[in-house]
C-alpha cells in the first residue's frame, strides 16, 4: 500500500488534530482496562464513521503496537471500515431464518432499490448496503437494520418506504427508546 497523499493539506491538518484529540480521549478512557484496542476502534469508527489511515498510526503509537498489528485487527472485523461509508447504514439479514421468510427476495429488492451491491455506497452518499448474518429478530423476519433500528417482517414495499423516509430525515444515530414513564414518582 502506498501512503495516501492528501489533496487538501490545511483541512487535513485540522482534521488530523481533531482525530488526534479524539483518539487521545479514547485512549485515556480505555488504557487502564485490559485489552483496550477494540473499544478504541469502536470509538473511532463511531465518531469518524470509519477508521482513517491516520488513526491506525496514532493508535499504534499510543498502545505501543505496530501499525501492522492494528491494521491486522481492523481488517479482521466486518464492523471496521477504512473508507467512509454513506450517511446511513442499511443491513439486510442474509441468514437462514430470514431466508425461510423469503429473505432472498428482499436482498435483491434492496440492491435494486439502492442500485448498489453489497458493501457499496449509493451515488448520493446516503446509504451503504451491507449483509448481516442475523439480528436476533428471527421469529418475525425478514429483518433489516437501518442504523441502530431493527425492522421486522419487511417487504420490498416497506423497505422502499423506509429508505424514502430515511432520505428525508436527519441521520438517526440514536435509535434509543423512550423508557418507562413514571407518573407518580417523577
Amino acid at each position: 500500500m502506498t501512503e495516501p497523499t492528501s489533496g487538501a493539506p490545511s483541512a487535513a491538518g485540522s482534521g488530523h488534530d481533531r482525530l488526534r484529540a479524539t483518539i487521545g480521549h479514547l485512549v485515556d478512557t480505555y488504557r487502564a482496562r485490559p485489552g483496550p484496542l477494540l473499544p478504541i476502534l469502536h470509538g473511532v469508527q463511531h465518531s469518524e464513521g470509519h477508521i482513517p489511515d491516520a488513526a491506525i498510526g496514532l493508535i499504534a503509537e499510543a498502545l505501543t503496537l505496530t501499525r501492522a498489528e492494528v491494521h491486522g485487527v481492523v481488517s479482521f472485523y466486518p464492523d471496521f471500515h477504512t473508507t467512509p461509508g454513506g450517511q446511513h447504514r442499511l443491513q439486510i439479514c442474509r441468514a437462514e431464518a430470514c431466508q425461510a421468510q423469503d429473505g432472498r427476495a428482499l436482498e435483491q429488492a434492496a440492491r435494486d432499490l439502492l442500485q448498489v451491491d453489497w458493501h457499496q455506497t449509493t451515488a448520493d452518499g446516503r446509504f451503504t448496503l451491507e449483509p448481516v448474518y442475523c439480528l436476533g429478530n428471527c421469529a418475525t423476519g425478514p429483518s433489516v437494520r437501518l442504523d441502530d433500528t431493527v425492522h421486522g417482517r419487511v417487504s420490498a414495499a416497506s423497505l422502499q418506504a423506509l429508505i424514502e423516509r430515511a432520505q428525508h430525515e436527519p441521520v438517526n444515530i440514536q435509535g434509543l427508546l423512550a423508557v418507562s414513564r413514571e407518573v407518580d414518582h417523577g
Binding site: 482496562r33 485490559p34 485489552g35 483496550p36 484496542l37 477494540l38 473499544p39 476502534l41 469502536h42 491486522g72 485487527v73 479482521f76 472485523y77 466486518p78 464492523d79 471496521f80 441468514a95 437462514e96 431464518a97 430470514c98 431466508q99 425461510a100 421468510q101 432472498r104 448481516v132 448474518y133 442475523c134 439480528l135 436476533g136 429478530n137 428471527c138 421469529a139 418475525t140 423476519g141 429483518s143 437494520r145 441502530d148 433500528t149 431493527v150 425492522h151 421486522g152 417482517r153 435509535g175 434509543l176 427508546l177 423512550a178 423508557v179 418507562s180 414513564r181 413514571e182 407518573v183 407518580d184
Partner: protein, 530 residues
Amino acid sequence: MAEVHTVYVPRDTTACSLGAEAIAQQLGRHLAMHSPDCRLVRNGSRGAFWLEPLLEVETEQGRLAYGPVTPEQLPDLLAAGLLAGTTEHPLYLGPVDDIPWLRRQQRLTFARAGVTDPLSIEDYRTHGGFVGLKKALSMTPQALVDEVKASGLRGRGGAAFPAGIKWQTVLDAPADNPGNPQSGRKFIVCNADEGDSGTFADRLVMEADPYMLIEGMIIAGLAVGADYGFIYLRSEYPLAHQVLQEAITRAEQAGWLGADMQGSGRDFQLEVRLGAGAYICGEETSLLDSLEGKRGMVRAKPPLPALKGAFGQPTVVNNVLTLAAVPWIIDQGGQAYANHGQGRSLGTMPFQLAGNIERGGLVELAFGPTLRELVEDFGGGTRSGRPMQAIQVGGPLGAYLPAAQWDTSLDYEAFAEAGAVLGHGGVVVFDDTVDMAQQARFAMEFCMVESCGKCTPCRIGSVRGVEVIDRIIADDNRAAQLDLLAELCDTMEFGSLCAMGGMTPNPVRSAVEHFPDAFGVTPESSAGAA
C-alpha cells in the same frame, strides 16, 4: 369499568421492530393529555413474538393482553376502552397468564421476562431477584460449585459441557502467573455473541431481564474467586447493549456491583465489550483473542480457557443462558433444577421458534418433548400456511431435519443419536417452496465468509464447496461432483480445528441426504453413486 393505572408496552428488539416504539410514543402523548394518572411501563417482552406488539393493562382481574397491535390500530383500541380494560375489541386476548402458548411453558429462566420493567431493580427484587446472590454471599465457593454440579446444568452455548465441572476447574486453578500484569486474577466471561441464525434467547435475557444475567455472573465470580467479568456482546444487538449498560450503572449505584457488594466485603466489576461483526468470535478461544484486542483467531486447545483464558488467567466462559440459569439454581437448589428434564439433559431449555412459523418466539420447556410437538403445538406450523419441508435445529452448523426425524425427542442425547445437535436451541422452519440445494450452498458460503482462516479445509474447502454445489445445481458432471462434495465434507469434518469448518458438513450432508430431489438426484442416479 374502572380506569387502569398501568399500561405496558414492550421494548425488546422484536416488539420495536414491529412498531412498539411508535406505539409507546403515541400512547405517552395520549396519557399525558387524557389519563395523567396512568403509568406507561416499558416491559421487556414475554417472547410471544407472534403477538408483538403485545400491550397489557393492569386490572383487578390481572393483566389483560391485546395484540398484535400496530401503531395504526392504537387509536381504535383506545377508543374501544383499552384504558378501562375492554374485553370487547378484536385484539383482546384475555388475561395474559391464560394465553395457552405462555401458560404451557415451564419458565424458570424466563419467568420475569415481559412481566417487569427490565431496568427496575425494585421490580427485579419484587419478583425474586437477587435472592440467589444473597444466599450465595453466605456460601463457600465449593458449596456454590457443588450446587451447580447437582443441577446438571450444561452449557447452553452449543457444546453442552457441564457447567459445574468447568467451574470446578477454574476454582481449583492457581491464578499466580509471575510476569503477567493480570497475575492473581480470574475472570468470568459471558459469551453474548449469539451468532446462530434462529436464536434470540440471549438477547431476550439481556433486554428483558438483565439483572438476572448480572446476578448469575456475580455468583459465578463468588464460586470460582473471580472479581471481574466481561460480557462479550455482538454489535448486532444495539438495544441489548443500551439496556445492559444502563443496568450495570444502576446495579453499581445500588451496591449490587463494584466494591464491597451489599456490605459483604466482596468485589465484582462488570464490563460490556462489543464484538465487531465476526461470527467466529462466538467460539470461546476466538472470543478471548478478540477480548484481548487481537484478530479473532481460534486457539488450539489445550490449554483450556478454564486454566489459561482471558489475558492468560483462569477464566469461566459461559453462554448467557448458562449464567442466567444460576440465580434460580442457587435460590431453589440444584436438585430442584435437576427435577426437570430427562437423562443427562436436565433442567429447562429455552427453544426459539423462528423462520417460517405461525407462532414464533421463545418457548422454555423441560427437555423431553418432541420437535414435532414444539413446532406444531406451539409453533402452529408455517406462517405461509404451506407444508413444512425441513427444520434446521441448532443454528447454521446444525442439520436440516426432514419430517421423518421430527419425532426426535428434544434432548442432547436423542439429537446426537439422530446425527443432529440442539446447539443453542434455535429451531428454524422452512416450507416446501424452499430450495434445499440453495440452503446447502449457503452453509458453505457462510463458512467461507466467517472462517477465521486458520485451517485450510475450512478456509479453502468452503470456497470449493460453493463451487461444487453450483456445478451440481447446474448439472455439470453431477454424479462426480456429488462424490467430490462428500469427500470435501469429510475433509472439513476431520481436518478443521473448530466446529466452524468441522460442522458445516452437517447442514450440507443432511440436505443432500434427505432432499435429494433438490440436487437433481433421482433414485436411479443415487443407486449408481452408492
